[in-house]
Symmetry: C5
Subunit: 306 residues, 5 copies
C-alpha cells in the first residue's frame, strides 16, 4: 500500500526513531480495513492471564484456542493482535506475516492484591516471533511504578535498537487513587503524558471521566477553564497531553457495556481525535459472527469523516 499523507504526517512525528521502527509503525497503520487512515483497532487477548481462562473464555469456548484470536483479528480487518508470550507462540507459525503482532511483555493475574506485574516476555522473544512491537503495562501511582518504569526503559531501549515499536498500557492505580480517580480526566491525561515521556510510540489509556482527582491539578483545570465536559473534549485533552498529538494514543473499551454504549464511546474517541481502540473482552466473549459484526461497526466509525 502506498504511503498516505496522514500516515506520513504521523510517522514524521517519530523523528528520533530508526527506519526499522518506522517501518513497523507503518505496518501497524497500513494493515486491515483502516489501512492508511492513521486510525487503529487492535485485538488484545491477555484476559486469560489477567482474569483466568474460565472467566475469560467460557462464554465463547472456541476462544480457548489461540488460533481463534489470530483468525478473528485477520478476518475482522484489524490492525494488530496483542497477546502474551505463550499465546503468540501457539499461533505465530501458522499466521506468520498475516497480521502485525504485539508481544505483551508483562502480565499480572487475579491471584494477588499486589499492584505489580511480572515481565514474561522479552525483545528477543518478540523478534523470534516476528512481532512488530512490544507491549508493556505500567501502573503510575503504584508502589512499583518506578521499578516498572525502569524495566520499561530497558526494554524500550532494546526494542528501539531492534527496530520494534513500543506500546505502553498506562493504567494508574495505587494508594493515592480511589476507583474513580483511576479514570479521572487529570489522571488519564497524566498517564498518557508519563508514557510519552518514557518514550512510548503508542499509548493505551482508559476513556476518561469528567472527575478531577489531584487537588493541585483540579485548581488549574478550573482556573484555566479546560474543556472536559464531553467525551470528545476529554479525548482531545488526553491526546494533547501526549505531546500535542505527536504520539499515537488509543483507548480501551472499558468494562462490558451494552453494544450501543460501547459504540457511543468509540464515536467519542473518534470525534475527539483519538487514534483508535484496543478492544478485547467485548469481542471475543461473543459468538464469532456477532464479534465480526461489532468490529465492522467499530471500524466503520473510524472510517467516517469527523
Amino acid at each position: 500500500m502506498t504511503l498516505t499523507p496522514r500516515v506520513k504526517a504521523i510517522l514524521d512525528h517519530y523523528e528520533s526513531d530508526t527506519p526499522g521502527t518506522k517501518a513497523n509503525l507503518y505496518r501497524l497503520m497500513n494493515t486491515g480495513k483502516l489501512a492508511g487512515t492513521g486510525k487503529l483497532v487492535i485485538l488484545p487477548v491477555d484476559q486469560g492471564f489477567e482474569h483466568g481462562p474460565g472467566r475469560s473464555f467460557a462464554p465463547n469456548p472456541p476462544a480457548y484456542d489461540p488460533h481463534y484470536h489470530y483468525s478473528l483479528a485477520i478476518e475482522a480487518g484489524l490492525n494488530a493482535f496483542a497477546a502474551p508470550l505463550g499465546m503468540l507462540e501457539a499461533g505465530a507459525g501458522t499466521f506468520a506475516g498475516q497480521i502485525p503482532t504485539i508481544l505483551k511483555c508483562n502480565s499480572s493475574d487475579s491471584l494477588t492484591t499486589q499492584k505489580n506485574q511480572a515481565v514474561t516476555g522479552t525483545v528477543a522473544d518478540a523478534l523470534r516471533l516476528g512481532c512488530s512491537a512490544i507491549g508493556f503495562t505500567i501502573y503510575p501511582a503504584s508502589d512499583y511504578q518506578f521499578h516498572q518504569m525502569e524495566q520499561l526503559r530497558e526494554m524500550a531501549r532494546e526494542a528501539k535498537n531492534a527496530g520494534l515499536a513500543v506500546v505502553v498500557w498506562s493504567y494508574p492505580r495505587g494508594p493515592m487513587l480511589d476507583k474513580a480517580g483511576e479514570t479521572a480526566i487529570d489522571i488519564c491525561a497524566y498517564a498518557a503524558h508519563i508514557a510519552a515521556e518514557l518514550g512510548a510510540h503508542i499509548i493505551k489509556v482508559k476513556p476518561p471521566t469528567e472527575d478531577l482527582c489531584l487537588p493541585a491539578a483540579k485548581k488549574v483545570y478550573i482556573d484555566e477553564k479546560v474543556d472536559i465536559a464531553t467525551l470528545p473534549a476529554r479525548i482531545h485533552h488526553v491526546v494533547q497531553s501526549a505531546f500535542a498529538g505527536r504520539r499515537i494514543v488509543i483507548f480501551s473499551g472499558g468494562e462490558h457495556t451494552t453494544t450501543e454504549h460501547l459504540l457511543d464511546t468509540i464515536r467519542g474517541i473518534h470525534q475527539g481525535g483519538g487514534f483508535g481502540s484496543i478492544i478485547g473482552r467485548n469481542t471475543f466473549q461473543r459468538p464469532r459472527a456477532e464479534a465480526l459484526k461489532l468490529l465492522g461497526d467499530i471500524t466503520d466509525i473510524f472510517l467516517q469523516k469527523v
Copy 2:
C-alpha cells in the same frame, strides 16, 4: 522409532519452537512403554529435598541411592526421570542416554514457611548432564509469584535457545487461597493457563476438585454451565485451559492414597484427555516389585483406547 500421527500432531502444536526443542519433546514422547502414544508417565524424585531424606526414603531404604531411581524408571518403561542437580549428577554418567532426564531447576524444603524456592540448577547444568528438559516450579498466588515467573522467563528463554524443553510445575498457593482453593477447578485451570502463557512446553498441575474458589470465576462457571461434575470433565477443562489442548498437561498423583484410588485417578486423567502422570512417592516408597507392578498398571491404563 517412527513418528506416529499422534506424536506428530502434538509436535505440530509447538509451532514456534526450534528443531532442537522438538527433538527433545519427541524423545520424551517416544521412550518407554508409552512411546508413540502421546501419553507420558514421568518419575520425579525431589522429595528428599522437599520433605527430607528420612521421611522420603526410610520406607524403602534402597531409594536413598540415586541409581535406584534411574533404574526403576528405566525398568518400568517410563518416559523420563526428573530430579534436582545433585541426584542427576550422581547417576548421569552411568545411565547416560538410557532415559530422558529433566533437571528440576528450583527446589524448596520443609524447614521454612516461606512459599518460595531456590534456583539450584541451570540450563548449562542441564546441558552438561545430557538432559532433555528443565523443570521449574511456580507458585501462582504466592507473594513470590512474579519473581518466580521472571526467573522462569529467563531460564525458559535460555532453554529454548539451547534446544531443551521446558516443564513447569504450576502449584497455586498464597494468601488468597486456603487449602481447598489450591486444588479448586478454577484454580487448577488458571494454573495451567498461566504456565502456558509463560511459554511452558509441558505443564504439571494437581488433579482438580469440583470446588470453585474465586467469586468472579465461580459466577461464570455457573452461568455458563461449565461441566466440572466428574474428574474426566475437570481434566478436560484444565487441558482446554492450556490453549485448547495445544500444550501437554500432565497431573501429579497427589497425597498417598490407596492403590485403587490412585488408579481411579489415573483412569480419570486418561478419560479426560490428560497427557499423562508424574508420580513419585506413590512408587519409590514401596518395595521395588510392588512399584514396578503399580507402574505397569498405570501405563496399561494409558495404553487403553478411550
Copy 3:
C-alpha cells in the same frame, strides 16, 4: 566563537576530564546571548512528568508541544534545553544542532509520596539524541539517597567515558528535614558539596534562605561568623562549598513569584557569583512574548558587570 579568558578559566577547573567532555562544557557556555561570559541560563521542562500535563501546560496551551520549548529556548538565546527522554525524542531531529540539550535521565511524578525517582533515560539515549549532557536528580537526606548516588556514579562514569557533561540536580529532602530545612543555607551548601564530590560538572540547587538546620553545622556557622545575611552572601557560600568555585553552580527560580521578585533573585545569584539560572515554569506558563521578555531581562542581568 573564540575561547574567552573566563570560559578558559572555567574549563581549566575540569582538569581530570576528557577533551570530549570539555568540548561539551564549551558548547554549553558558548551558546546564546551569554556565550563566552561563563554564565548560563537553561530551560528545563520536566514539569509535565513531575506535576502532570494539565497543571503544567494548561496556563499556556502551546506548551503541550515539545517543539514549543525547543524554539523558545533557541529564540530567547539560552544556553541549553533540558527535558526527559520522550520530550527530547519529539524534537531532537527538527532542532538538531541548534541548541545544546541535556537529557534529564531520572524523573518522579506527583502520584506517590515516595521520595524517589525512576531512571528513565540512559547515556546511550543521550548520545543517540545528540545531547551535550545528562541530567540527574539526587535527594540527599532521603531514604533512597545512597541508591540514587550509586545510580549517578554509574551514569556519570558512562557519560564521562562518552565525552558528555554531567548536570546534577541536588534537592535535599527526607525524614531529617522539614520544609524550611530543605532550603536552609547549610543544607543548600551541603547539597552542592555532595554533588561536587560525586563528580558533577554542573550543579543545580535551590536559592538558599538564611535558616540553619543541622545543629552541629549551625554551631560552626555562628562560631566562625560565616556571612549568610544576604542572598549574594549565601550564593557565595554555596559556590564556595562546591570546591571554592571550581564547579559550575546554577540556581533554580523557585516557586512561582512576582516577576520583580524573580528578577531580584536573579540579581542576587549574579552578585553572589552564581554561574546562572535554570528556569522553567516561570517562563513557559506565560504567553510566549512575555516569556521572551522575561528571559531577555534575565540574560541582561547576567550580562551586567558585578
Copy 4:
C-alpha cells in the same frame, strides 16, 4: 602416590565431574597421613572472623599468625587447610603446593544476630591462590537459605567449570529450629541431603544427637524403626542421606570438650562410616605440641580397621 582401590571407588561416585575436579578430589584424599584411605582430616581456621581474634587466638598466641596454621596442618599430616581469603593470601606464597587449601568463600561474624553470611571470596581468588576447593556455608532453615543456595549454585558452577572441588558447610538454623533442633538427627541428615542435592562434592555437618525435630519426619523415623540409638548409627544415617554414601561427608568436632570426649566422637564417626573430621578450635587453641599429639591420635583412629 598410586591410586588405591578405595580412593578410586570414591572418585567413581563423582561421575558427572571433570578430570580437573577429580584431580583435586584426588589431591585432597592423597595428602598426609591418611593418604589413600579415603578418610580426611581438615584444619579450618575461620574462627578469627566468626568469633573474633582475641577469643580465638589469645589462648595460644602464635595462632594469630596465618603461617602457624599452614605449618601445623602440614606437620600434622592433615589432608587440607581451609580459611577465608585474607588468611590464605598471607601464606599461600610461602606454602605453595605443600598442602591442599580450601578457600572459605563466605563468612559471618559475632557482631550481628542476622543468620546470614557475606561472600568474601570468589572462584577467581581460589584459582589465583592455588586452592583445590572452595568452601561455602549454607544455613538451611534460615530466612536467607534460598538466597544462600542461589549464591552457592553460581559459585559451584564456576568452581566445577574451573576444575575445583566444592565443600559445603551445611548448618541448619532459623525460626523453625531451637538449639536442640539444629543437631537433631533428622535435621543433620536433611542438611547433608540438601548439600548433596545442591551439587556439593564434600559435605560438612555437625555430629547428630538422637533428637528428632520435625513432626512429620519423627513419625517416619519411629514407624520405620530407623536406628539412631548410637553415634555410629546416626553417622551411618547421615552418610546414607547423602546419596547412600556417594558423597563424602565429614563432621565437625563441635564445642570444646574433654580430649577423651572428642576422641570418642572421632571413633563414632569412623565406626559409622563417616569420611573424616574437620577440626579447628580443639587443636589451635592448645600449645603446638599438644595439638600435634591430638591430631596424631585422631589420624590414628581413622587409620584403624573398622
Copy 5:
C-alpha cells in the same frame, strides 16, 4: 629511593599480591619524610561529604579548595592524600605524580541515620586519576555489614587485578554496640581482623580504649590476661590481630583534642608498633602554618627509635 630492609620486610608479607600492587605499596611507603621507615602519615579529606562543607572548612576557609589539601600533604611530606571522587578530580591533573593518592570509594553524609554508605567511586576512576590505592569503609556490626563486605570483595578483586592497593576503614557500629563499644579493645581488634580477612592491604581503625564489649570475648581476655592496660599495649594487640603484624594497620586521630593529647596518642601508636596515622580534621581546620607544625611534630615522632 632504594628499598630499605624494613620496607622490604613489609612488602614480603604481601606474598599473594602482584608486582603492580607491591609497587603501589612501595610508593605509599617511600614518599615523604617517613620514606623507607615503614611508617605512614596520610591526609584524608572526606569530612566535607561526611559532615558538610561549612562544618568542615569554615574554621579555615582556604580548605574549601581541593588544591589546598594536595599542597598541604605535599608540603608536610606526608605519604598520601585520600579523598572522594570529586575532590581528587579537582586536583589530580595539577598535582599528578607529586604524591600518592587514595580514592575513597564510598561515603556517607550527616543527613541520615542509616548506618550505610554509597559507593561513589570505582577502580576505573582510581586508575584514570592515577591513584595508588582505593579506600573503602565497612561498618562491622551494622545491618549493612554483609552487603558492604560483598561490595568490598568485588572492588578489592578489581583493584588487585589492576595493581592497586586496598585500604579499608573498619569502623564498627550497629545495634549490638553502644558508643563505648565502638572503640572497645576487643571490637577494634575484631575490626582490624575482619579487614585483614577481607584481603585489605592497609587497615585503618580507631585508637582502642580499654573497654571490653562482647561477653564471650571479655571472658577470654581476662582468663588469658591479655595486656590491654596501656595504649601501646592495646595498639600492639590490634596489630597482632591483623595476622600478627603481617598487615599494615594505621590509626585515626579521633575527635578533636588538645594538640598535646593528640601527640600523646601518636606516641602510643608508635610505641605499640602501629604503622602510622591518618589524620584530617586535626590538621586542615587549623591555619596552614600550625597544621604544618603539627604534621612535622607527628612525623618526627614516627622517626624516633622505639
